[in-house]
Symmetry: C2
Subunit: 507 residues, 2 copies
Amino acid sequence: MDTGSTASGAGGAGVRGGRGVSDASTADTTDYRLDGQAAIESLRGAFSGRLLTEPQDTAPYLLDYRKRWRGAAMAVAMPDSTEDVVGIVRWCRQRQVGVVPQGGNTGLTGGSVPDRSGRSVLLSLARMNRIRSVDPLNNTITVEAGCVLQRVQETAAEAGRLFPLSLAAQGTCTIGGNLSTNAGGVQVIRFGNARELCLGLEVVTATGEIWDGLKGLRKDNTGYDLRDLFIGAEGTLGIITAAVLKLFPLPVAKVAALAGVTSPQAALQLLELAQNRLGSSLTAFELISSDALALVLKHFPGSRLPVETPSTWYVLVELSDLDSDQHANEAMENLLSAALETGLVPDAAVSASIDQFRQFWALRENISEAQSAEGKNIKHDISVPISRIPDFIEQTDAEIQAAHPETRMIVFGHLGDGNLHYNVSPGPGLPPGDDDAFLALEGPINRIAHDAVVRFGGSISAEHGLGILRRDESARYKQPVEVAMMRAIKQALDPQGLMNPGKYLPD
Amino acid sequence: MDTGSTASGAGGAGVRGGRGVSDASTADTTDYRLDGQAAIESLRGAFSGRLLTEPQDTAPYLLDYRKRWRGAAMAVAMPDSTEDVVGIVRWCRQRQVGVVPQGGNTGLTGGSVPDRSGRSVLLSLARMNRIRSVDPLNNTITVEAGCVLQRVQETAAEAGRLFPLSLAAQGTCTIGGNLSTNAGGVQVIRFGNARELCLGLEVVTATGEIWDGLKGLRKDNTGYDLRDLFIGAEGTLGIITAAVLKLFPLPVAKVAALAGVTSPQAALQLLELAQNRLGSSLTAFELISSDALALVLKHFPGSRLPVETPSTWYVLVELSDLDSDQHANEAMENLLSAALETGLVPDAAVSASIDQFRQFWALRENISEAQSAEGKNIKHDISVPISRIPDFIEQTDAEIQAAHPETRMIVFGHLGDGNLHYNVSPGPGLPPGDDDAFLALEGPINRIAHDAVVRFGGSISAEHGLGILRRDESARYKQPVEVAMMRAIKQALDPQGLMNPGKYLPD
């Protein structure tokens, strides 16, 4: 494999501006030369796992999940052990070669694919997928970074425990990726983000050393919080190779309700009522606009709306109970009765079986796919203080519709966390199928939405991270003092700038 | 005020080795001179709050809560605003003067008093004590660093919300100190440490800039986790000036039970049962040895044991309920019935009133004072994985008793967090009142206990932090790669080494 020619070859193919598979590269001014074949042989000798070099083998690792960024790499290195990761990182370090860590490659911001220079090694943690131990009395599980999330959930359940992190990609995404992006999902209202579910880490640092921080402790105040620095750093400070995760009691019963609400403000009042009555039995509280729901009803033929009275907004409420089905149902019905009485909720349905529970959830979970089936869309993964959600939606909808009346809003998300998937689809004013005309609006609409987010004290990336997609935008919205501290930390822990180069922070 | 002579004057007085008021200074090799009076005048002009320079005014700020460390300072600066803090930090930075931040000065490891050089400014946040805002719908409160914890609790309660951080010093300690030491307390099993209760910070950096990170967001993935880096850093990276804290629904009912258990292993089984049945209604689970309880019964005349059958160990269980007193009592009684049936618990009592609830808690909360009344003691604030607590106690008790049979163990703590206050008192083998003979054992006993902690995968400072007391010990037990990363971060964010000099990390 000739690294140089692969890089330029890949760099020239299929790139187009704005959208589609685009170039994730950044300027590379490093002055070095590696003889391709000799370098590969030398890397092969540096660790004992697998090394992929053939284009047909490496291709799946070099294209992101959303097929927006295709990169190139010298090779795909698949370590079997933490010592293997050390071998790879040290090899790269000696040669000034970038290291791009990858888990399940399900990220949505391009953080897990290399740039197009072909001068990085893609380090896939997929083979480091052992469950190292389960300690039910300590309520912890210790797993390697390449463990698929669903396997961690299942292993916990076998031990009579819950690992609550739950998101659409759970059959493919890995714990290392979940932690590196501080993944969110649908249970954050009760259990927090991935960060809150982690007690300790094992990390291979940018200097190629192993930091064994795999402590299963609830309290430890003996130094700077390195754990939380590596979590959410998207591989730019070091490679997470294993983690101690928190477990919880397995709920005995779960029940969901779908309720119509008259407005986002009414949804917020229902949320407050639910929190005060259910406390931490409230394990999800999702907001869905009728337009978002209509797309699911249209594109998923088996689906149906379980309430009779139509509303402009709906919420999906989930309750998890340690007592019994009966107790769970009573608590949910009491909540909804109170809400119906006050007029907050015109109509609501409670799931009467596991099947119905799944059907209700499918109405929420199928929105993304329904949106894709409908055509292109412009996505925002934003958060604002929960109390400001109604004003944010009202004002920002109006701003976008005033500037771009040819579009329509598809809004849904985790109201209990103040996190909206605030998406925009083509409206009747755009010629059907003219994707380019619509996608040309991405930049201007991003700007309106994100300016509003910042005005409302929010975040332009609530749970998807920065990667390439939000790297420059994020830095632009941040205070210079914060960017300076981030750069100082990057410089302190990765002075050669080799960990996931070109991501997260602008050069 | 002549800085130089104050420093040497203070440095020469009342120091004795090992214990008592000792010298917290570290070698100071900085080569600079400040003319005392001119410097004070110049500092007075750098901000608008109060400046204390007279020894009778500054003295209370220069001696720690446990009266173990007395330091000296050029002056005590009491800013009124974040801009004042900027003024003080910049003034110090220009002159290479250290800044020692202090909240309520209730820390237990000497972190909030300066060394004896007299070359630092003590920065008291006491006057920055405003509640900036309460947002019940977002479940957040924004407060300045000098707010006393109890006032935050009370303000939250007035808004119908709970701020759950709860610890013995809550009438005096401040939120800034709680965050800088990542305080724990009795509700960690349900709500986490101070870190988990904070959504955002305002910080004055070591470079004298304001970082406004006061976001009230549940999800924000747009950069390195600076918040959690400043939390628990004990003022060595910058000054926390304000914070956004999480609020929770206010419980409707609380009930406590005191239960005898046959062993720490039985206590652990009861904990598992309680977690699986009560989930997050379980808000405290404390372990108390009969020797610890006996000291309270002896030194607090009004106190009495509410169960008839004596045990060698007891647990205090607290349940918080959002439903009703009746629901809370039933849940607690069901738990204890199940435990009595299995033989885990020979005898138990449930609080039947608020008074009794307080009496039960007093048995736990008065242990420290009872221990002081009994004489000197050697303290350890340690944590190990919860599942290993029984083995830790058995093995470490045996080791200490074998090496020092003239002592006795006073063990209690937060079993639900794996955190023990693992203390040692003089036993019958030591001449009564011979404190020096007993205190000479502190080093050797610390070593036995902490070596055991590390062997069990634990932490030598679970909730009290490092300060001076555990600074060198902690660094000795850490892996070199972790200490190197801590030093790199310190260097990155405080390159001049002026933030709380001499604490946390050995020079």
